[in-house]
Amino acid sequence: MIRMKRFQRFNLDSLLLPLLGVAVCLLLWQVLAGSNQRVTARDDFGDMVTVTKRVGLSKDLPSPGETWTASKNYVLQPWAKRGELDQGILAFTWLSLKLVAQGYAIALILGTPIGFCLGLSKAFAKTFDPIIQILRPVSPLAWLPLGMVLFLSVKIRVPGAAAPYTASELAAIFTVAICSMWPTVLNTAVGVRAIPQDYLNVAKVLKLSRTKTLFKVLVPATLPYMFTGFRLSLGIAWLVIVAAEMLTGRPGVGGFLWQQYNALSYAHIILCILTIGLVGYALDRLMSLIESRFKSA
């Protein structure tokens, strides 16, 4: 009986409280947003006219209802493609995710070995640590133009693909890769340095070769740290792609957001923000699932 009660309460809490939070935010949004009011007034000529007036704390902010009405088309037909910058919201998300995946993959492929070198060799760490510390805080907005310059005349054609990579695409991938690399690099380095001396002693006593020590002892011992780095990197990669798309105007969630801002269609900005948030949350959950599997192992 008691167990039953606790079970019910647990379920209720974990479902109702988040809903309550969402409701409070929607209410605040509604209060903040402006609304249209029809006012009947006598004009200068003495005639009765009905005028629609926008009133509210923030007159231009669309209310939740207006946001839904304006976004309905994009949400209910998520895969529609009406034009390059007029697609369903999932179609845009897919385009953004494709770029993120490529940049993120490069970040991991480069970042993990660099992290290992930093963790294993004091000399390597001393040589490159200052450069890493300087490059790490650089904003994606600063990297992107450099990427554009770098890839201006580079043509990369993947066999089977319809068109070669464009400069802006390559620049976006470059920016994602270089910005999201650092958490992987640093976490891997910390993980390698945190390997207990005991494990290394085991390797020494057994006379494991260098490659065997690396793959049988060092890599498994570092995996939990590496995955924490991978997770943080993915979060950054998703942040960066939005900025990169906004600057390059590529179709994607960020590109759509920027275009709709220029088109004064503010409801779609909110749609994009919510989409970016939800996708980011989903990616983080996914990574933490994988991470916890490796931590328990």
Partner: protein, 302 residues
Amino acid sequence: MALLSLENVHVGFGSGAKRHEVLRDIQLHLAEGEFVAIVGYSGAGKSTLLNLLAGLLQPDSGSILLRGKPAPGPGPDRGVVFQNYSLLPWLSVEENIALAVDQVFPEWKPSERAAHVRRYIEMVHLSPSALKRPGELSGGMRQRVALARALACEPAILLMDEPLGALDALTRATLQDEIVRIWLENRRTALLITNDVDEALLMADRIVPLSAGPGATLGPSVPVPLPRPRDRRSLHHHPEHKHARRTVLDYLLGPGGRPKLSVTRKLVLPDLVPEDLDGPRPALFAPPKRRATAKSETIEVH
């Protein structure tokens, strides 16, 4: 000829004024087939001594000889059971041992190696837990795995660094008996490092006390001529046991073996400057002259 010997070995850490000597003038000879126990205080340098024997640490001076020749670096010919088990937590019991066996006997067929691993798991009575990870095992079981891993390499000498230190008294007793049983089966040379005199008396042929640090050194070795198998209940009544126990304890608690207690106290001289009336007058806000400097002396307490 001794299987493994240390000659005039000195080890210290740090350099210059900060250097402190951990082990000084260590002489140790292990004969083939002997079970030697080194008994000493915690922190005296027992683990340092074991690292030396295992080849994980090089002495500052003196030499380590394996069968009369300078010992090479660490290798599976000297099996080590570490104090904290040192099992790889992402591998199962079987995989932990197989990692060692695959490394030491690469020329064997895979089926032979697997059988070898199983035999040693059986020897430490862990067959039901062969597929478990170290995290799922108790401390005693983990230490059995570590023991099986060291033995499976068929080392010429088995080095054990306080292997039972982290276990409760009952598990400890069972494992003591088991280690002796396994040792009796093939009588490989074994070295046990412990801080428990009774454990050493129960298991070893010979006890070498290690004096307290800093600058610990080995005392005269004490033979334990007790018949095997030894029974822990009746052992105490044996006159040889009493004699050996007293000799070891006398050394460890005597002037040569026990920790040197020292007190460091500050000596503060009164901060008085004699006034010099003939000299130039000091400036009004000149910093006060300080002649007294804090000094300290260290006194050994007996």
